[in-house]
């Protein structure tokens, strides 16, 4: 019945009479406080009404209620601590990956957070406070005020991969099929350029945290990927003054990194500068199983033009742009196809592109702005596309066989959506955003499959953890993302597909 039997003229009138309000949603805690307050008032009224009843029964009742509340609270806590949110009746079983005693868990992206062994990679808060907060590397990039450690969840256990010696945070981006992981760790040294504690690329191997170091003169580096041959791709500073490097990390990245940054690979512990497209800086986004690397580089320091690149066979190939002055790569598949976004001219918005090995293809020629976030090994692409230059009107898309399909938004109103990852079954995961800009936070984790949109919160047994963003889906249909608890803490989740239960919103 939904969507029919509305008078168009009445829709317009009602929109005018009672316009949609973009105001902030009052905090949920206010609702809880009202409920508790009203309950207390109600109890008070009852006590007056039954004041003649002077036995110890009211006290016992209060005690019983208190005990029930405590047991209930403990039950929630215990149930949550176990991370159990699954039921055989639901298409997915929810697992809260957990933490090391701190409040939150995080996902380091871009990367593949589920390994071939079914492990889940994350960074989890410890109970220890971060003395460097809020001056984390790169400057201002603290997730919260706790020390975090790279973590691997496997077979019901969250394993702490540790960090370099000292009170240091670490994170993990990827693990290869041999179980060797790469990421970054604070090393306890102070970077004289950024004036904050430094963070360097590390390898997690056989229980050890191995410092991969940085380019000569540099204090900072990070490892993004490792392939099955052990080639590690990442970035490093080199100590040469340069104030434009930070822009390569993306519009939302904190600046304050005053030296050049370079795309690098480590092989057998030796770091190699991959060079640039002509400018001073380059960074790595992703690496495929063939050791090919995608990223972006300044192509000119004079004009500050940026272009995506593919590094293969020892050479950095300039993939060009869609006609504009800036483009960046978001992902590449095992065929070496690269996706990302590029502007069409100096002052235009960004469109989603696919570099198919021969040329750049504009996937969203009619969009005001768009981005391609992921490409699977079949060459199918997901991302988002917007009808306007800013504000709402964005939807996720799946581009397949030359045709772009818009993915429906689950939330109504001024919400927008984005596809983050697509598997080889053309199942897409992403998020709905409440309103209205691309800087907004996600509010609902979504799955698009077989032409339908699903709120992932409705595909799992009810849980205190609200799933707000789904970042990756593998070919088993298992999903990794993050959600929030009622108190605002963030948690990583793993959704395991129950194939006996068909996809259907509960």
């Amino acid at each position: 019945v939904s969507g029919v039997e509305k008078l168009p003229e009445l829709v317009a009138l009602l929109d005018e009479l009672v316009p949609f309000d973009d105001g902030l949603c009052p905090d949920w805690d206010d609702v809880l406080a009202r409920a508790q307050s009203e309950t207390a008032r109600s109890r008070s009224r009852k006590r007056v009404r039954w004041s003649w009843f002077r036995t110890g029964l009211p006290i016992l009742a209060s005690v019983a209620i208190t005990v029930a509340v405590v047991v209930f609270a403990i039950g929630i806590r215990a149930r949550h601590a176990q991370g159990v949110g699954g039921s055989g009746r639901y298409p997915y079983t929810l697992l809260d990956v957990g933490t090391f005693g701190g409040p939150s868990g995080f996902l380091d992206l871009p990367g593949v957070p589920i390994t071939s062994q079914g492990s889940v990679l994350s960074a989890a808060d410890t109970a220890a406070h971060d003395r460097d907060y809020p001056h984390c590397p790169p400057p201002g990039a603290c997730s919260d005020r706790y020390i975090q450690h790279a973590a691997v969840w496997q077979d019901g256990q969250l394993m702490d991969l540790g960090a370099l010696p000292g009170q240091n945070s670490s994170g993990i981006y990827q693990q290869n099929s041999s179980g060797v992981g790469v990421g970054a760790s604070e090393d306890g040294l102070r970077d004289p350029f950024t004036k904050t504690v430094a963070s360097v690329a590390v390898m997690f191997e056989n229980g050890k945290v191995i410092n991969l170091g940085a380019l000569p003169g540099g204090y900072e580096s990070g490892a993004k990927n490792i392939d099955d041959q052990g080639q590690v791709a990442g970035f490093s500073s080199n100590g040469i003054r340069d104030f434009f490097a930070c822009y390569l990390f993306g519009a939302n990245s904190p600046c304050g990194w005053p030296t050049q940054v370079r795309a690098v690979v480590w092989r057998h512990g030796v770091v190699r500068d991959l060079g640039t497209l002509g400018g001073s800086d380059a960074i790595v986004t992703a690496q495929n199983d063939r050791g090919e690397i995608a990223g972006q580089s300044y192509s000119s320091d004079t004009n500050l033009t940026i272009a995506p690149f593919l590094w293969k066979n020892g050479h950095m190939i300039n993939l060009g742009t869609l006609g504009g002055t800036s483009g960046s790569a978001n992902w590449l598949n095992d065929s070496g196809e690269v996706v990302g976004q590029s502007n069409l001219s100096y002052n235009s918005g960004y469109n989603a592109f696919l570099w198919n090995g021969r040329r750049m293809i504009d996937l969203t020629p009619r969009a005001a702005r768009a981005s391609a976030n992921w490409i699977n090994d079949r060459g199918d692409v997901t991302g988002y596309t917007c009808a306007t230059g800013n504000g709402p009107g964005c939807t996720g898309f799946l581009w397949r066989h030359g045709k772009l399909t818009v993915l429906p938004i689950i939330l109504r109103g001024k919400a927008w959506a984005s596809g983050n990852s697509v598997n080889n079954l053309d199942q897409v995961v992403g998020a709905d955003y409440g309103c209205c800009s691309t800087d907004d936070k996600p509010v609902l984790a979504a799955l698009w499959a077989n032409g339908h949109a699903y709120d992932l919160n409705k595909l799992v047994a009810p849980s205190a953890l609200r799933l707000i963003n789904a970042n990756y889906i593998d070919d088993h249909g298992d999903i990794v993302g993050f959600g929030t608890l009622p108190n605002g803490d963030q948690r990583m989740f793993l959704l395991t597909r129950n194939t006996t239960v068909p996809l259907q919103n509960k």
């Binding site: 009138l13 809880l32 209930f72």
Partner: protein, 157 residues
């Protein structure tokens, strides 16, 4: 469904669809601040009395019922001396014949219109929210449309 799960589902509904609840409440009460209060009080009611729901029907519809009830109560307090249902949405668009007719609709018809147009609820959800049969919703919306359409065509004639 366990109480814990119900609370969680109610919270999820609040976070996902607050703006629609607020819009319907604003249409009923005619005041944004009053509407905000009504929505929060409605959700608080839903939490406090979730045992009464006990899995009967759809939870969403039941929460809508709590919010609509709170909104109606808030409006009756706000429009002192006016019984609930007589002065609905405060329509001041005097140049809009459709608006005037909307304001003159019977209470139930107006609520069905609000829930259908502002919250995009399906008939069974509206039925749960108002405590009526699905067929009643269909007939009520049909009647509201007929009244409004007649007014619209009259204005064009």
């Amino acid at each position: 469904m366990e109480e814990e799960a119900v609370w969680s589902a109610i919270e999820s509904l609040y976070r996902a669809r607050f703006r629609e609840f607020e819009r319907v409440a604003r249409a009923i009460t005619g005041d944004r601040e009053v509407a905000l209060e009504a929505v929060q009080d409605g959700f608080a009611d839903a939490l406090r009395h979730c045992g009464q729901w006990a899995g009967r029907g759809e939870l969403d519809g039941w929460v809508w019922r709590c919010v609509v009830n709170r909104s109606q109560k808030a409006r009756s307090r706000r429009v002192s001396g006016s019984p609930v249902g007589e002065r609905p949405l405060e329509i001041s668009k005097e140049d809009s014949g459709l608006g005037v007719r909307l304001g003159a609709l019977p209470e139930r018809q107006r609520l069905v219109v609000f829930l259908r147009y502002f919250a995009d609820l399906e008939y069974r959800e509206i039925a749960a929210a108002l405590g009526v049969e699905t067929g009643t919703v269909s007939a009520t919306l049909h009647a509201a449309h007929a009244t409004l359409r007649a007014g619209y065509e009259e204005a064009l004639a």
